[in-house]
Amino acid sequence: MAIPLLYNVRHLRTRPAAAAMTAVGIALPTAALLFALALPAGLNRVLRSSGDESRLVILRKGAVAETGSAIDRETARLIETLPGIAKNAANRPLCSPEAAILVNVPRRDGKRTNLLVRGTGERGRELRPAVRLVEGRWFEPGLPELTVSRRIATRFENLGLGETIKFGRSDWRVVGIFEAAGTSSDSEAWADADLLMADFRRTLYTSVLVRAVSPEVQASIVRTLAEDERFSLRGVPEPEYFALQTREVGIPVEFVGMLVSILLAVGATVGAANTMYAAVAQRTREIAVLRAIGFRRRAVLASFLFETFLLALAGGAVGCAIAFAAFHGRATSTVNWISFSDVVFQFRITPDLLGYGMVFAVAIGLLGGALPARLAASRGIAASMRAI
């Protein structure tokens, strides 16, 4: 027969301070774990959601990011004539030569970082339907105007609607705000490609974005670009393009976060074990009495495990609540080391993560409680009765 669960609840209530300290000792590492996972989760969401299989990023051979790539005008025109590129309503090929230029500008918190300014055009917008204008208007070709993402407008100095920012050789006026559904475009400011390049005395585009009519055609375009001597370029489907960035930027962050959480968890496990050992020691005689009136060893073991389980549950819930309240939805940014540009993302405490947090907390509790519970169950009745 099992020992009534109320027994454990009552016991926790008699030592509220110790119980609370143990629970909070579990709550803090749980919150730290969620924090450590929410950061890469948000970052990876940006990088993963940005990739659309139907889009092909064309780069110089050897380049790993747009910002380190270069394609001359003639080659860009040649790409446009490739068979199999999808057409828009006006029967023009969906092919957008672009210039991704980094400018080091201050954020509103005063720290400087590299903002990606994308020189693009109408077809660049058609190729990215996720990007929607929400305020103002699009930049005019030939004018030093910017349309920037909402997140950039709020995070960067001088990039709000109507403001003017100086870079290159011009003063650029922000004439519109767009939203990009959490994709990487949300970390960009857009301008007219030709004007932007002229402003930086550049003659080369950095990349060309195209949409092929079908996946098979896309594969054949990739082959042509690689093998045809006129090109010698690298065509990368977008998901693959962002996969490298996820691997090189998101995963190391995730790794460090996990490592710290695990070390913290070991500390918390020790804390839980200490509390439970003390609980067992205090109740040596009680346990003997329970055994004497017929409860099995297994019932004693289960009872103590249940007690740590309760503590862990409470700790886990508090930890999840702290993490959710403190971090969820908070926007932050870091540098994408592949493109050297700033990428804005939000901490996201998803239901999955809350689930992990609870499992983590319960694991700490049960691991910490396992040895003390075994000790309690293994004591001999007669010896324990004699103990003070």
């Binding site: 300290m21 909070v24 590492p29 919150a31 730290a32 050897g62 790993v64 230029i101 980094l102 500390g267």
Partner: protein
Amino acid sequence: MKYLPLVLRNLFRNKRRSGLTAFAVAISVFLVVVLRTALHHLETPPSEQSQFRLVAHHAASLQNPLPEGHVEKVRAVPGVLRATPMTWFGGYWKRFENFFANFEIDASTWWDVFPEQRLPEDQKRGFLADPQGCFVGRALSEEYGWKIGDRIVLTGTLYPLDPELNVQGIYEGPDSTWLLFHRKYAEESLGRPGRVGTIWFLVAGAADVGPVSERVDARFRNSDAETKTETEKSFQLSFVEMMGDVRAIVRWVVGFVALTMLLVAGNAMAMAARERLQEAAVLRALGFPPARVATLLLAEAMLVAGLGGAIGTALPVLLFWNFTPQPIWFPTFRVPTEIGLTGFGFALALGLLAGGLPSWGLVRRPIAQALRRA
């Protein structure tokens, strides 16, 4: 001191608890020391003379190169002692994971500005004589197993060039994780685009830093390639700044660790105090002053925390004495003395806090009441 045996006896009375608590403290101190060491190395360039070494780069961002003519113009600016161009090549070796710092340099002037990177004379001659020569840092050569005479092919991610290089030397220096090769080789292979990434130069002293940087930037104002000049330290910090809230995040985590461990250690010491309640009352009844009785428990807490702190500090110090976790960001991970000391100090403070409250509780209660408690 004569109470030491008593404190030790008490400590060993519950070996399991003392051990577990010391272990928990050790882990937390380890974490705090490692995280703070990471921050320290991110924020501190390893070079010795970096305060008088300045760097000029394109004002918009490093992605934009400067025209090579800028180098001579910088040299001509009053106050500039010696200048040399240096271009981040951005190549990797065999696989993208093998990404490290590799630069194109001008061999005839480079050592004027970077004298701390020491290359033996005969190796230097070999490098100068070989247009496709390169030399690499000691740590980097150990990481990839390169020896003098090896042929290395880098894959360029920024320029359409995969340089084929001969290792002519291995240099020693505060940051021995770079590979350096002739700028001329890259320029000629790329069809002479005439670009440089950065221009490094020395000024005479601290008083010159501000005025000379201003003069350099003024020299190129309203030109096609305006410059931004900063000190080596501020240049390095700009990369850390780009990482965003990294520093804040690390501090948060350090805070979480400290708080968690305070709870764990505090709880353990509170339990120890509870067990001693009667004993303490007996000691006080025998005439020991309350302060001394309280000190006994406090000393016990300090010993446990001190032991944990010693282990938690010694471990990273010994483990990372000669360790390069990541060549670009962490060419070294040696624990700085003051971080080691504060790590240990953190453990002692933990013991003081965790032991202080319960020991005070131990003597606060009237003796009779404490004696009556079973």
